[in-house]
């Protein structure tokens, strides 16, 4: 078996440069219209953290089914396009279960896939066992039955279907068969829940797709972080250009200017890492494990740093709730714990390099 493609059984199409640019543009336009800062704040204050109308618009644009094969009603595209879309999602702080559905798209089969693509099902993915990076979940598999609790499952509270992925295989469980406990989260643009299992579950596959699902998740998240970092830097540079102190734009002071230069290096490096990981995953490169690991920590670290230093560069205005800077920091912090933290992925990176050598 190979885990080099999004799905072992379908080769993802790859758009040419012009179509790729058009895809990015269309997502950017949609989000500029439907996912403004005011929209983000409104959705944050929702109990569910979800906006069904916005999700519907994303379905219609084909973004939700982006990596679902065409035969199941999706766009049949791959990691490269997913990463591109996620850069826009990150820039706009889009509160929507795109990473979850992208990971689920790798794990689900025929009809369930079609329902992801047409928007009638939202799926959340719980990694368990060896794939639960921090070892917080205690889900046990006995035959086709699941018990125990999966912790910190993104988007579980709005999911119709919970996909459980671990070394014992892939299972789906209907919402009605689990107990979902939404968690109070620091980043309200990315909701989490604990999911308790009481037995009923359907095994839909072995564990062979699980690494790819996680890799797709990393690529999507890395794209989000690269896009978030870039937008936060743009906002900060714009503010530093317009804000005057001591009769000068604060961006003319070396203290601010030099921080901005360092952040550009972070943000551009994140973009390079995310895109390279996407490309290597799409191509099934021999060195993709290293590329994925690199993107995982480089993009997370970059987004946190750009958001952190960006607030500092703003000064007092960014210490207020009404300024959006802290929303980027919250998003950066949540992403940095989602599928493994920096130390975890630096360790996996060096393991991958050792394996390559």
């Amino acid at each position: 078996m190979t885990d080099t493609l999004v799905r072992p059984d379908t080769a993802p199409a790859t758009l040419d440069a012009a179509d790729r640019a058009a895809l990015g543009d269309s997502v950017r336009r949609l989000l500029a219209d439907r996912c403004t800062e005011a929209d983000v704040r409104r959705i944050m204050d929702n109990e569910s953290g979800h906006d069904a109308a916005l999700w519907r618009a994303l379905v219609e644009l084909g973004v939700v089914g982006l990596t679902v094969p065409e035969e199941h009603g999706g766009a049949g595209l791959g990691p490269v396009e997913l990463e591109l879309v996620m850069e826009e999602a990150g820039a706009a702080l889009l509160p929507a279960p795109l990473i979850s559905t992208a990971m689920a798209s790798v794990l689900l089969d025929g009809e369930r896939l079609a329902k992801i693509a047409d928007g009638s099902t939202i799926a959340a993915v719980a990694f368990v066992g060896a794939y639960d990076w921090a070892g917080r979940s205690d889900v046990r598999v006995a035959g086709d039955r699941l018990t125990g609790t999966a912790r910190f499952v993104p988007d579980a509270a709005i999911a119709d279907l919970i996909v459980v992925a671990g070394e014992d295989g892939v299972f789906v469980v209907e919402r009605c068969d689990v107990t979902i406990t939404p968690l109070p989260v620091f980043d309200r643009t990315r909701r989490m829940a604990d999911v308790a299992f009481h037995g009923p579950a359907t095994r839909i596959g072995d564990s062979s797709c699980v690494p790819t699902a996680r890799d797709i998740g990393i690529v999507a998240l890395a794209g989000e972080q690269a896009g978030g970092a870039r937008r936060m830097l743009e906002r900060t540079v714009a503010y530093a250009t317009e804000r005057h102190q001591f009769g000068r734009a604060i961006g003319s002071f070396q203290a601010i200017k030099h921080m901005a230069a360092d952040l550009l290096l972070e943000s551009e490096s994140a973009t390079s890492a995310a895109r390279d990981a996407a490309r290597q995953l799409a191509e099934g490169s021999q060195t993709k494990d290293a590329a994925i690991a690199l993107a995982a920590f480089a993009c997370a670290d970059a987004f946190v740093r750009v958001a952190k230093d960006g607030i500092q560069m703003h000064g007092g205005i960014a210490f207020t709730w009404t300024n959006p800077a802290h929303l980027y920091l919250r998003r950066a912090r949540s992403g940095a714990q989602l599928l493994g933290d920096g130390n975890h992925w630096r360790e996996r990176y060096i393991q991958a390099l050792e394996a390559q050598a």
Partner: protein
């Protein structure tokens, strides 16, 4: 100045006074606004312990610095507040040094007893790092001034009786030379206080909207248009205590506090067997301890009459400590750090600190401004040429 009393006699007198008078304070008190400890503080003032270094005219005893410390230590030993305000009370010191005679006779005793609430009206939306760029205007009218403008980052404004205000009284001179310093009465129409929501989702600060508010003539501190110098002495008081004063995590249940709290958290989180964690925890604790050692050394130097470059480093040091501690706390907690709210106090601490660290690294002068100050005033490096220092304020570009 020597007061003629021996150290022993002084020690005995203050001990006896405390034995006679100190019975403790109500358990809870709010640190802004009118001080509920006023009754006690008035007693301390009247006995001469509030301001032992000052003359009797100002409720003092004309003690030397060394003897005044005897008084302070005696109060500290029993946990009684109010002594040594001649060093610590920003408001009373500023008023005594700069207020008109008539005003300070009224206000200084009240300030020493905490009978009036105070707030600072310095920063504006357009004047943060650059305080000399204030655009709040005070226009001369019969008997005083009429003030209009907007101030931000004001603590305790809602319960304050006076605000220490800087406002522009001359627009046709360079920015530092057209500012005056006032005690603005806060309880009047024309002063509106709105809470400011911080990134931590708390509201410790306010915006203050001032519209045609009146400040009487006698409430001017220092000369008209000489407010910048008054402000500098007031800021010096603040800075000298800032390094120690950065606020820690807000939760009461987030594990042991203090310099070594990270060690406890690492243990609790079961992470103390990780060599990487051990290095990071060691480094953050080390910075905390070094900052404390620096401060002790600075205090010892100052006691010996040498000026110390170290004091000004405290705030900058604390800024690095808090941001780095937030990072390490987050690493220790892993996914648990995604949570917030009172049921997750350790996560609450880590997340709160990750945001509240900016209170130290931005508030009261950003780290960048702090580095300017250290570079110029401590290391003696040349100032940056200031393009707006010599032109009339009207012509300065703002935004």
């Amino acid at each position: 100045m020597s007061s003629g009393i021996t150290d022993e006699a002084l020690r005995a007198e203050v001990a006896a006074w405390l034995a006679d008078n100190w019975t403790g304070l109500p358990a809870h008190h709010e640190s802004f606004g009118r001080d509920p400890r006023s009754e006690w503080l008035a007693k301390v003032r009247d006995a001469g312990w509030a301001t032992p270094r000052w003359d009797a005219e100002w409720h003092g005893r004309g003690l030397s610095n060394e003897q005044a410390r005897i008084v302070e230590r005696a109060f500290a030993a029993v946990g009684a507040p109010g002594a040594g305000q001649d060093r610590s009370n920003l408001w009373a010191n500023t008023a005594l040094a700069h207020a008109t005679d008539s005003f300070k006779r009224t206000i200084v005793p009240q300030l020493l007893a905490g009978e009036v609430g105070m707030c600072l009206l310095y920063s504006e939306p357009g004047a943060g790092s650059d305080l000399a760029a204030v655009r709040t205007r005070a226009n001369k009218v019969e008997g005083g001034w009429r003030v209009t403008g907007q101030k931000v980052w004001t603590s305790g404004a809602a319960v304050a009786d006076y605000g220490m205000l800087i406002a522009r009284t001359d627009w046709d001179v360079p920015k530092h030379r057209g500012i005056s310093f006032f005690f603005l009465p806060m309880k009047q129409e024309g002063v509106e206080v709105r809470p400011l929501r911080q990134i931590t989702d708390e509201s410790h600060f306010n915006e203050v909207f001032i519209t045609d508010a009146f400040v009487p003539e006698e409430n001017l501190l220092g000369p008209l248009n000489g407010g910048w110098a008054v402000l500098q002495t007031a800021l010096a008081y603040e800075r000298s205590v800032m390094g120690d004063a950065a606020r820690g995590p807000r939760s009461g249940a987030g594990g042991p506090k203090g310099d070594y709290s990270l060690l406890g958290l690492a243990q609790e989180a079961g992470r103390l067997d990780d060599p990487i964690v051990r290095q990071d925890v060691a480094q953050v604790i080390a910075w905390r301890v070094l900052n404390k050692l620096n401060t002790q050394r600075a205090k010892a130097d100052m006691a010996q009459g040498t000026s110390s470059p170290i004091m000004s480093l405290g705030k900058l040091a604390m800024s690095r400590i808090l941001h780095e501690e937030a990072r390490v706390r987050t690493m220790l907690l892993g996914p648990e750090s995604l949570l917030e709210g009172p049921e997750h106090p350790r996560a609450e601490d880590a997340n709160f600190l990750s945001l509240n660290a900016y209170f130290t690294s931005i508030g009261g002068g950003t780290d960048q401004i702090q580095r300017n100050i250290i570079g110029e005033r401590v290391l003696g490096l040349p100032r940056e040429p200031e393009i707006d220092r010599t032109i009339p304020f009207r012509d300065v570009r703002a935004g």
